[in-house]
Subunit: 369 residues, 2 copies
């Protein structure tokens, strides 16, 4: 029996073959560049998908919260890196987790560093997060005073170990000239490594955005990469040129509940609580909340004529349908939607259905607790 017979409500499908190809391709790229790939599992948040990653030599992962690190603890990861400016209120929780799992965190100020110096009884590594122009978070690349204050404070504890510098070049999402962003990233991390290597000979540098890691070939002397989204990709990455539609590994299955042929619209059960509200702008000023694919017994196919979600509310989605789609669609059919932002969609849905009909776990990363 096909997986399709299991679907009566919005369901997040995953194509294992596509996902494995994405993992393999990035692992080969890292290897070709002499880099360690430490994928960001905020996207997949899954033990099963973690096991797929291990098949491509991946031994360490990145997560975005201590709760997510707890989910992955005890599953054979050599290290779990929490790529978020550490929240000092979670110091005791970190200390407890570090008893059973090798962990690293990110520090960007002296205050939180001191909190960890006071709280840690178990070893924890740390990266200093560097801001070289993105401006969201991190110590400015030229703020050596702050970098050294963090290093000096950390030295007061023999539990807090400096690992190196982390730089999330998040502006590859907005800047057309990714080469220029990467010039900046390579230069910033190269300079810091040269400056601090004599004191910390084992320090490494790491960068982590999917658009950069997918497109760039020259990573200079950066040691490690930690992209996340590439595991699934999505329509945002298609728009950025990081991947093709055929490389998107997840699709939300949505039941058709009404068809308005004269308006060229299809109403589906699938909205903001399933996909999140991320969108891409349309050339005419409208919005695109996800693109239609045709579900088949063995996965999905990309339609010749494009149809997309033009609006969504909490549970509803309204598709602007091509004439190709309108000709064939019936009430009670199930369509696929390639999401705009797969990390958010997976976090909304909290589990996957494989094309083989198996339910695949998700950490429920964002929930309270």
């Amino acid at each position: 029996m096909s997986y399709l017979t299991h679907i009566a409500s919005p369901t997040l499908l995953i194509d294992e073959q596509i996902c494995r190809k994405n993992l393999q391709k990035m692992a080969e790229k890292a290897k070709r560049n002499g880099m360690k790939l430490v994928p960001h599992f905020k996207t997949a948040q899954s033990h099963v998908i973690g096991e797929w990653a291990k098949d491509y030599g991946i031994k360490e992962i990145t997560v975005s919260s201590i709760k997510m690190a707890e989910y992955f603890c005890g599953h054979g990861w050599e290290n779990i890196h929490i790529a978020f400016p550490f929240n000092p209120l979670e110091a005791k929780r970190l200390n407890r987790l570090a008893k059973n799992q090798s962990l690293s965190v990110q520090l960007i100020n002296e205050t939180t560093t001191q909190t960890l110096v006071d709280a840690l009884e178990n070893p924890v590594g740390f990266f200093i997060e560097i801001d070289a122009g993105y401006g969201r978070t991190g110590v400015h690349v030229s703020d050596f005073g702050k970098i050294e204050a963090i290093l000096r404070t950390a030295k007061k504890s023999d539990k807090l170990k400096f690992r190196g510098f982390y730089l999330h070049a998040g502006h590859t999402y907005y800047e057309k000239d990714k080469e220029a962003v990467y010039d900046q990233t390579r230069a910033a991390l190269g300079m810091l490594k040269a400056k601090y290597r004599s004191e910390y000979p084992k320090l490494v540098t790491r960068t982590g955005d999917t658009p950069g890691c997918a497109v760039m070939e020259d990573f200079g002397d950066i040691d490690e990469m930690g992209p996340g989204n590439f595991v699934f990709f999505d329509m945002m990455q298609v728009a950025l040129g990081s991947c093709t539609r055929e490389e998107v590994a997840v699709a939300l299955a949505v039941p058709v509940v009404d068809i308005q042929k004269e308006r060229g619209e299809i109403l589906v059960h699938g909205g903001g609580v399933h996909l999140s509200k991320d969108y891409l702008p349309e050339p005419d000023g409208g919005k695109n909340f996800g693109e239609v694919v045709f579900l088949t017994e063995t996965g999905w196919t990309i339609p010749k004529e494009r149809s997309f979600l033009k609006s969504i509310s909490q549970e509803h989605g309204l598709i602007k349908a091509s004439s190709e789609l309108l000709k064939s669609v019936k009430i009670g059919d199930v369509l696929g939607i390639l999401p705009i932002h797969s990390c958010m969609t997976a976090d909304c849905m909290e589990s996957y259905l494989s094309i083989g009909g198996e339910v695949i776990d998700h950490a429920e990363g964002a929930r309270q607790g």
Copy 2:
């Protein structure tokens, strides 16, 4: 011990007093207008908050999916209305649930009506959803052919009972002139009632948007109202004039992880997976993803000077901070954020912490299954 001592990670706070006032005010308005209030519980999705609602005479609720109806089944509701164009793939599931719970659904086409005629062994009520200009979903108000086809098909089953007409005037969210939208709503529902009352003497009419129900006083001869968001309100409703900031009953507690005084920015743990990505436009072209409140032992207070989330990513939020806030804030503090769209935020967070320190349930409405 204060509820504040429980908070180390993003946590959705609820102020019971504010929430009860919102419920009471709308219940009184419904009573004053001779209407039945059937609140939409897609917002709260909670048994505890359901019990609060019962204190104001509320006996029936509205939900947005069959999964949510299952959550509320067995909790003493006289009827649960599923306010979503019925998904024919869920017909058997509806039939099972209808064995133990009085239910009603919404129908907008003959195809799905026939599916229910074939599937139902237990009684289920239905409303015909009417589109009088919003354009998202429903039978156009003047499409009597379709209305009568649905009624004719439904008559083939003695299990499917016509209850009346439902109209979600969702364009009160976009149209400044809510009186004009309500003229249209009153006229459409009044006309349909007059036309079909002779054949269906018990038919009722229902409307359901929070901006309209909060602001309007003249509901004409509309029998029932089903707003949802008013239970909590949010910054979107403040912007629409439906409520004041003081009437918003939920706030996301977010730990402060970094402060950039010179840039006037505060980095918090709290992003798209907690708040959703709904935003309000700022006059300067920027975005507002939520507004800062000061947490106190007994709830929260509105600052004199406004601070707000100017950007969010999956887990991060960046606050544009007032000088008042910058003066007092420290790393490790916890701030409150009034959400832009409380329905989506509650759906992301999946539970509440009361000011009294109690954990309050949420249905996890959107998850698969």
